[in-house]
Amino acid sequence: MHISGAEAVIRCLLEEGVDLVYGYPGGAIMPIYDELFKFQDQLNHVLTRHEQGATHMAQGYARTSGRVGVAMATSGPGATNLVTGIADAQIDSTPMVCITGQVAAHLLGSDAFQETDIIGISTPVTKWNYQVTHAEEIPEIMAKAFYIARSGRPGPVLIDITKNAQFDFFDFSYETCTGIRSYVPKPTLTKETLIAAAELINAAKKPMIVWGQGVLLGNAEEEFKALVEKTGIPAAWTILGLSGLPTAHPLNVGMVGMHGNYGPNLLTNECDLLLAIGMRFDDRVTGSLDTYAKQAKVIHFEIDPAEVNKNVTADIAVLGDCKESLAQLLPLVIANSHPEWLAVFEGHQKTEYQKVIHQDLNPTKTGLTMGEAVEAINRHTGGDAVIVTDVGQHQMVTCRYAKFVKSKSNVTSGGLGTMGFALPAAIGAKMGAPEREVVAVIGDGGYQMTIQELGTIFQGQIPVKIVVLNNDFLGMVRQWQQLFFDKRYASTEMINPDFVSIAKAYHIDAQSVSKREDLDGAVQAMIASEKPYFLEVCVEKEDNVFPMIPSGASVSDIRLE
């Protein structure tokens, strides 16, 4: 088949099973868009309102579908606008392929119009990147891009294609990539480490599991649940591990980390064995490393060898894909239960309920709380929805109180903490799981960072439900200013526009509530709608999120107020 490089790009995408691309056209990628036009019956292109939106949509899509998200942009500013999403995907291990147009090869380095060194710029935040300057390179590079993005610990790949390589013709044939000699996607699992791990597990009196996104990325939810249930070990989650085990599971003891639950944080420093499964000991999880789980033996189940002993030293590192390692571990562990130890978790949970949760969910003060809004969403979705969050107070509250019955239902920006993530990510999440209800819960700050994607929702009639928890503040920063900067609220108060009018201008049904008696009905109407829907919930301006581990403090220093 003698075809152009641009057509080859489309055929490669089809070969990789891609039927959906997010992007924004421009000069240097026009030949590819011209081919997209010809192939539109096989490949759906969603026109975003900003290239950053395209990356977050691709991320949301990847997170709910488990497939590789694809984003496209032109050279120069189009390419640089992708960078935040790429960095987010890198730190949160999201499989994504970004394709950027580039000036013609003979113009490289001439400061041509819309030329930017996107390879140089994206290098530190991609798993791999490559600049194609000859059309003949396209099939092999595209195959590698998808293989690298989805295999092992997933991540973003950027392919930059010069305009001449898009125009030039060559003889096309496609072969999927099955291996690269310099790249080991997953380390070989060894029986000895599993046996050693099982010995520690079987001997432990006060064991505790902390699981992360590795369980979800590895599609290991069943194996994980089986291990938890057989060993009877209380299991806590990192923010990206959320929904890997149903919220209501009796051994699910809540979230670890800065705004995590009281019990699992305190007991991290009391357990005798810490099983870390598919998580990377982020500083927001561990607090001060000097005082983190020093009394415990640590077993680290991890696919990326560079993560082992990076932050926390492991007594045993079980390297490999956790779907395999957990399955092979299961017959080696004895059936067990730890009722007394579990009761300690329950005791702390009761304390937290009395001091924090009860007031959050059943407030008596006039103003609405973020917690009761999330609880209303729970009531009307039955915990069956995909919940997408942005970054800040609303994110912590939502992740603390949202209920989940299915895995891959929590989409949030964890590692990078990207404000503006949620609205576009919700679009992608909905398209990755069209049969599911998708509710984006967003703060008034982050919402306005990518608010223009309402245009994408309107044009594509993508039925996402948008809840803005509006406190007219950049709430998390304000909370820190209150606690650590003597209430000097430097540039955190926001004078906000009429969000309902903005949504309505995009022909999206919208309403706003600020009274308790209106909340439930409004949420019910939103969930009942089959169209995109916007709901503003005006909440208390100066509420704080607790519990909280102050930055740099020990998990033992977790504060309830």
Binding site: I119, Y130, Y183
Partner: protein, 177 residues
């Protein structure tokens, strides 16, 4: 406090544009200064070798090498102490030719240092010295009083005493393909 020492990092990699940037970015991100850096073909066809010298603790070097090895185009990365490697640096010294005749002592300096004279012209001559850092430095100090027109020293090149096993890795990959 764990002590810092010199480590030589050896990287076997594909010869891809951009990998140099990717590797240096790992150091940049962690605010680590590189003492010396050299690249060349390796003993295996189409496999490139980087030799990087850095000063840091063992805990840190392990993590850095892990990050380097994680890169898709890196076949394998190692770190070694000075005792575990054979290493050399080369230096070139450009001196005025008149110094050779006006300052008799300079001839003894050259002789004692076992340096080679690479080229001599009416205006200048160039000396080459390969060896350890302290040897090239000593010659620098000895020649400096006579006026060095130019001085340059290469990055460290090194081979390890232990086996690297790169061909085995590549052969295993070929077999499994």
């Amino acid at each position: 406090m764990e002590e810092k020492q010199l480590y030589t990092i050896s990287i076997y990699s594909e010869n891809n544009i951009g990998l140099l940037n990717r590797i240096s970015a790992i150091f940049l991100k962690r605010h680590i200064n590189i003492e010396s850096f050299s690249t060349s073909p390796s003993e295996i066809k189409n496999v490139f070798r980087f030799v990087i010298v850095v000063q840091m603790t063992q805990t840190k070097i392990k993590k850095i090498v892990g990050q380097i090895e994680k890169q898709v185009d890196v076949i394998k990365a190692f770190y070694h102490t000075d005792e575990e490697t054979i290493f050399q640096e080369s230096a070139l010294y450009k001196v005025k030719s008149s110094a050779l005749f006006e300052e008799r002592h300079i001839q003894n300096v050259i002789k004692e240092s076992h340096a080679n004279i690479v080229t001599v012209s009416p205006e200048f001559f160039v000396i080459e010295k390969t060896g350890f850092r302290h040897e090239t430095e000593k010659l620098y100090n000895d020649l400096a009083p006579y006026g060095l027109l130019q001085f340059v020293r290469s990055g460290r090149i090194s081979v390890t005493k232990s086996k690297m096993g790169i061909s085995e890795i590549l052969n295993t990959f070929k077999k499994n393909k």
